[in-house]
């Protein structure tokens, strides 16, 4: 929001490098200049150069592994989401945290299936069918089922052809994965989930937004109930 009195030398370097990354002067996936070089280039001490790099790293504009040259990484929506990962973890540990996130996911996907029902293209439909088929074939392999389940939902996020949505899906997947990982996954539940997916797809095929939303709602509500019981949370 406010810019305060920002007289940090590091901020100037951050700004400059940011613009060089954005403009492509610093090519994506290529290493940043050496610290001692930047230090000369900007006429500052290595201290501030390192602070600047640290900031860029936290912003997700460079990927820095210890002992390696930081790699320029032009930001995309996935970067934004993953950069927030650490903080989100804290929020999930607060009471109601998981529920809030899950609820927002239900909200999001309700909208997605409506939109899918209304405007899914042939390609979208065949992607959904393929994902459902893979899902069906994995009913007895819970590990694989999880992946195909997630992939099915992922297709929904692709339908708007807007890069923000797949990034959000990635966020949900990675943030909620820890919860999901410690749940037992039984073939009968896999079957139920597959059938729920099928119901959703059927509704989309019939171009019935209300039915699709309803099917998705039932599906995710049931899944949540299972999560809730497993973690012994308070009811709604």
């Amino acid at each position: 929001m406010s810019l305060d009195t920002n007289i940090r030398a590091a901020d100037a370097i951050v700004a400059e490098l940011e613009s060089q990354i954005a403009s492509g002067r610093l090519r994506n996936k290529s290493p940043l200049p050496a610290e001692r070089e930047l230090m000369e280039q900007f006429g500052t001490s290595r201290t501030v150069v390192r602070e600047a790099i640290s900031t860029l790293s936290n912003r997700g504009l460079v990927e820095s592994k210890p002992r390696f040259r930081p790699i320029v990484s032009k930001p995309d929506y996935a970067t934004v989401l993953s950069a927030t990962g650490n903080v989100v973890r804290h929020l999930l540990n607060e009471p109601g945290g998981v529920k809030n996130l899950y609820q927002s996911r239900v909200f999001m996907e309700c909208g997605l299936v409506r939109q899918a029902a209304i405007s899914a293209t042939k390609t979208d439909i065949s992607d959904l069918k393929a994902a459902l088929e893979a899902n069906k074939n994995a009913i007895n392999d819970s590990e694989e089922f999880y992946r195909t389940d997630n992939a099915f939902h992922g297709v929904l996020y692709q339908i708007p052809k807007n890069p923000i949505f797949p990034a959000v899906h990635e966020g949900y997947t990675s943030w909620l994965a820890p919860q999901w990982a410690q749940m037992k996954r039984l073939p009968e539940r896999n079957l139920a989930n597959y059938e729920a997916h099928k119901a959703i797809l059927d509704a989309i095929l019939e171009r019935d937004a209300d039915a699709a939303e309803e099917a998705l709602n039932v599906h995710l509500k049931a899944a949540w109930e299972y999560v809730r019981v497993t973690f012994d949370m308070e009811a709604d």
Copy 2:
């Protein structure tokens, strides 16, 4: 995701301070210990302490103004969003960036008005009415109209009673504000916007989700068209 070979001393300090903040051992809104104190406490040099603080600051867990002690700021959803602000700005400068963000906002609010139509409480309704009234009274004061316009949409984000949504609204507001700021705002447009808001509220009052969604769609589509023309972007 991957933990790699994380041998950075600063990371240990970050982790420790993070957990102290989460547990409340470091009280919210209170200043962090002095750098020289942390340095002794963790047995490292001031260099790594400062790097750790910089990381915390970028994560949004402390608020650090130059020359002032960093203030502990327990993360909330708004913090997460605002921490991403810098990167999002870059994405908005890329072709289609603003459009993608705006489209996601339309998507979000379509869902919100549907939900409002279905399950808005009396309190929600009266909040909406109050916001609309304020909106009406500001038609001739474009500065004020912008605020009330935004507030009206903000009420929609409050209806799910989920802290994630208001945070998202804050995100949209701050990210799209720069675009909005440089647009001329005429009383006749204010009036049109007010009437659009009224149509939305009317549909909500009639508990007609489809009509509410439609009204909102018309409203935001029109607003987008205005933005698009102003900035001379390509058509859809």
